[in-house]
């Protein structure tokens, strides 16, 4: 059977192809630029940063080409754009994938910008870092678009392999090796369950498209066990609570900017794929209602335990890791609602909008962590932030904005994100209690988000600490994230509308 590709096929994979080509270009460029090249990991290597940022910008632009992923949703006012099945059902060209891809691409660009100075200060600035970010980014974009089991599995594994390596990127750190090993073992373990679930779904239906998840002729027993195993696999990837034990270790051992990348990008694409899975499963009616209840229980436990565990962390990376777990819990609320298949097809939009907010505030916070730690593990403790506001008022301000937004304070986009999610839960009816738990959990979280702020503004510093400061990339990242965090609070409406149109492209 000859395969004919049409323009929609090329438009669908264009962003991912650009990201992967950027990754390869960075790797090759690092080999051949010798005077400032790979044998000198203490140099800033701004040429690599430039290649990376240009690649991200190109990939972002590729979303908006005619018949591109976001073109329809962006141009047609209020109308869900048409979507097309491309590559024989392996991928889908729709605004939902495009929206997630946009977040991933921006995250890749910001991570690249903020990493150069930090990695150079640590003497670990190797071109592979950027290569892994962009190769993984390409896989993440494909995962956000993937609509059959094979493409989902291959994409999720490819991106996981890149982040395992990033977690252990600081090869001289003992913690880096440990975090990478734990992440790898648990991640590969969960992939086994994910794959077993996929095999069961294939066995139950004889199909590998996601639409098969709703096939009413399927054997319900095999189908439900398969679905359950797939959800367990995704639970590991997003760090939901019974499957979260790798998160703090992996984040603590990873370079701070890589931890931000792992937190944001892996979550975005995993939640995108998860929402596709639950929407397909929820529409079919084969999936058992008990699975919805289990997802809800997962959300509750993740929100509560994530926030409680974050309370007594003194290492800022571990605190942010547990806070990331808690945010996975908030993000599971729209997933539960999407599974339930409520009459309102917009319920998943909360997750997309929240992920935009999460991108800005998390990358901002981890960039400050990178600046303060300056490559030294001891400076990731909370005491290192004492009196930071006097020496570095702007850095302290950026950290404050990010933390307040993570806590969901009004005036920041984090507030709008939480508001959207909780509002959907309140209107949903049976899952009203998720909103209550979420609000209580966020109230608790305010305590630990305020601790670094208090340290920065009201404590005297013990010793003067140098931070990575004379680096344009890091500064630009902080300006962009803190500006975005505040600006989107005041004009987040258009982004929210875009997210609603995006989610309608898969829920109909």
């Amino acid at each position: 059977m000859p395969i004919n590709l049409v323009s929609a096929d090329y438009a669908a994979i264009l962003p991912a192809v650009i990201l992967i080509a950027t990754g390869l270009a960075v790797l090759i460029a690092d080999l051949f630029v010798t005077d400032d090249g790979y044998d000198n990991p203490s140099s800033e290597k701004s040429h690599l940063v430039w290649i990376g940022v240009c690649g991200a910008a190109l990939a972002f632009a590729a979303l908006f080409v005619p018949s591109g992923l976001l073109f329809g949703a962006w141009s047609e006012n209020g109308v869900a754009s048409g979507s097309e099945v491309v590559f024989l059902g392996a991928l889908r060209l729709d605004a939902f994938g495009g929206f997630a891809a946009a977040i991933i691409i921006v995250a890749a660009g910001l991570t690249t910008l903020s990493s150069g100075g930090y990695l150079a200060a640590q003497g670990q600035n190797r071109g592979e870092f950027y290569g892994l970010v962009y190769l993984g980014g390409g896989a993440m974009v494909l995962l956000a678009q993937a609509t059959n089991l094979i493409s989902i599995f291959v994409a999720i594994e490819t991106l996981s392999l890149t982040v395992y390596v990033l977690a252990g990127f600081f090869r001289k750190w003992k913690l880096g090796a440990e975090g990478a090993a734990k992440y790898f073992i648990l991640g590969a373990f969960s992939s086994g369950f994910l794959l077993l679930g996929m095999a069961f779904v294939y066995g139950a239906t004889g199909e590998i498209s996601l639409a098969a998840l709703g096939k009413s002729t399927a054997d319900p027993y095999l189908m439900n066990v398969g679905l359950l195993l797939i959800l367990v696999g995704f639970g590991f990837k997003v760090g939901a609570v019974p499957f979260h034990s790798w998160v703090p270790d992996a984040y603590q051992g990873a370079p701070a900017t890589a931890a931000g990348w792992m937190a944001v990008a892996v979550k975005v694409c995993s939640f995108a794929a998860l929402i596709r899975v639950v929407v397909a499963a929820g529409q079919g009616g084969v999936a058992d209602a008990a699975i919805g209840k289990m997802l809800a229980a997962l959300a509750v436990v993740t929100m509560v335990l994530g926030n409680l565990a974050a309370l007594n962390q003194t290492n800022i990376k571990r605190m942010l890791a547990y806070s990331g777990i808690a945010h996975s819990g908030y993000l599971l609320i729209p997933v539960v609602l999407a599974f339930q298949g409520t009459p309102d097809p917009k319920v998943g939009a909360g997750a997309l909008f929240y992920l935009v907010a999460y991108l800005l505030m998390t990358i901002g916070a981890f960039t400050v962590v990178a600046m303060v730690s300056n490559g030294d593990t001891d400076r990731e403790e909370l005491e290192s932030y004492n009196g930071l506001a006097k020496r570095q008022p702007f850095v302290a301000f950026a950290m404050t904005v990010s933390l307040l937004s993570l806590a969901g304070m009004p005036g920041t986009v984090g507030f709008l994100g939480k508001l959207t999610i909780f509002k959907d839960a309140v209107y949903s009816g049976p899952y009203l209690y998720l909103a209550f738990v979420g609000i209580l959990a966020s109230l608790v979280s305010v305590y630990y988000y305020l601790r670094p702020i208090v340290a920065m503004y009201f404590r005297e510093e013990g010793e003067t600490i140098e931070i990575v400061e004379n680096n344009w990339g890091v500064k630009l990242t902080l300006v962009l994230t803190s500006f975005g965090t505040i600006a989107l609070f005041f004009c987040g409406k258009s982004v929210h509308e875009l997210s609603v149109r995006s989610i309608q492209s898969i829920t109909g």
Binding site: M1, P2, L24, I28, L31, F32, P220, Y221, A289, A290
Partner: protein, 118 residues
């Protein structure tokens, strides 16, 4: 609940019983008489003359890892070869891209010095 969960629960319990049972049985029933002779490795009855725990040189691991990566490309080559007449020019371009990316990988290994033995 629309699905009968009893088989699932039974399966889970059975798995638990078997797992715990196997561990407990070997703990309780297995005889443990240790002597130094018993702990040495068995080499066809010949007295051992050096320990097998001699670590391999790191370069063997590197070669092994590279071998796995470049070896597995055959997994994609074989299905392509069986169908290559049907796939025509499109398939050729696809495979060309695939091999080109592999080639980039080889170039990377080469420049990084991973292929040098000394």
């Amino acid at each position: 609940m629309s699905v009968d969960l009893i088989p699932l629960v039974t399966f889970g319990l059975l798995a638990l019983v078997v797992a715990v049972g196997a561990l407990a049985a070997s703990e309780l029933l297995g005889p443990r008489r240790r002597d130094p002779e018993k702990l040495t490795s068995y080499e066809c009855g010949v007295p051992i003359f050096e320990t097998a725990r001699e670590p391999f040189h790191i370069r063997f691991y590197l070669i092994a890892i590279l071998f796995i990566l470049f070896d597995i490309e055959t997994v994609f080559m074989v299905p392509y070869v069986t169908l290559f007449r049907d796939l025509g020019v499109f398939g050729l371009v696809e495979m060309g891209t695939f091999v080109a990316i592999l080639g980039l990988g080889l170039l990377y290994c080469w420049k990084r010095g991973a292929l040098e033995w000394d």
